[in-house]
Symmetry: C2
């Protein structure tokens, strides 16, 4: 089956306390999309954080305030070079500036990661279920860099209504050999796919992914975080 990714444009600037699920449902209606079981709604964390009020005013010396905020949001600094800080967030994610971001934020402010992105995803999912009667999956995405490779890709930092990983253990390939690749980071691949229709400057903060075999399960984004013991690159 073919996969279709629908951008959801036209969502207005989100402010603290806004009913994000209602804004997403309105965007779906404008795009004439009726949600169906198996759909995955991908929402960039930026509008989730804004609706939840995870926005900080950078008083005084803005650069200095920003750098202090980054260290405040970090539970561990992994690497540092000049102004670049690669840090672990309290969620366990390792990313630049502990996820604190000034792009697509009002002048003089910075946007933090949502406190509990899985819970944010769950809230959106339940609101859509209440309104439409359909239980879809929801992914909250963010834009992360990677070691070794240039350029950024979107990944899943929160999810609800699906498994984060597709476990292929026990499946065999076309020649009957058991697969070495046992876990596919499906939620990250969906977030990356959705980013292709979003664009960073285009103000398309959400997309609906349809036609996927969504891995069933009660996953959370921390399932995608490798434990320090398993990790060779800390």
């Amino acid at each position: 089956m073919s996969l279709i990714i629908h951008p959801l444009p036209g969502i207005p600037e989100v402010r603290r306390g806004d009913d994000l699920a209602a804004l997403l449902l309105a965007a779906l209606a404008r795009a004439r999309l009726v949600v169906t079981a198996g759909d995955v709604l991908v929402v960039t964390h930026k509008i989730v954080s804004k609706a939840e009020g995870a926005v900080v005013q950078l008083g005084g010396d803005e650069e200095q305030a920003y750098r202090a905020l980054v260290l405040d949001e970090a539970v561990e600094v992994i690497r540092r070079r000049g102004d670049l800080v690669i840090a672990k967030t309290r969620h366990g994610f390792i990313c630049a500036n502990a996820g604190v971001d000034r792009s697509n934020a009002a002048q003089g402010t910075a946007v933090l990661l949502p406190r509990d992105p899985d819970s944010s995803a769950h809230g959106i999912r339940m609101a859509i279920k209440a309104s439409s009667g359909v239980d879809i999956a929801v992914i909250i995405s963010d834009t992360f860099g990677r070691p070794w490779r240039r350029g950024l890709t979107d990944i899943a930092i929160g999810l609800s209504g699906m498994a984060a990983l597709l476990d292929l253990k026990g499946t065999v390939d076309a020649s009957g050999r058991e697969l070495h690749v046992t876990e596919v980071a499906v939620a990250d691949e969906i977030a990356a796919a959705a980013d292709l229709v979003m664009g960073k400057a285009a103000a398309v903060p959400a997309a609906l992914v349809r036609g996927l075999e969504v891995p069933a399960g009660d996953g959370r984004a921390t399932d995608l975080v490798r434990s320090p013991e398993e990790d060779l690159f800390r």
Copy 2:
């Protein structure tokens, strides 16, 4: 515009010397897809390597022969734990087992990465252009792990007819602030998106991605490799 990803199933087991472009054109015809400017054809490296004969017989003790082959393909071992070797390939990619893979390979054999995946992509692109008159983009994909995050995702190891990265330098966000995120790894996001319709066990080794604003340029997959000087994680 919505993005559509069409799986291209039904490609037979590929053997050394097979005309891969012809097999892909036949798969497109079976799927009733007429290629259009702006399309991106994603092909898993496995069938490229097989067509190019980048397959090695593992004689004697198969495990031992495999481990020797991995070290042979590596130009630098980055990390090692037990049987797991994270190595740099001659292309500059850093991945498990230097890209040597035994899944979806005939019993007693291992598949290497193509010698020059950009050139492989270019060859497929030119053959499709010769046959259809349409100049599409081609990406060769492989499945890589990542530091810090569990699960594997597909990335681009070869490409032709597009830029690997989308440079947003100079673009401004909705509030007029210049974007900090300046380079999106679009080719990697396309490879990840295509993997969603391929499946590891399902023998769908190619997909057509349609509806994308493909970044123009004469890119190559090594554009996605971060230089050691820029890299904090070697």
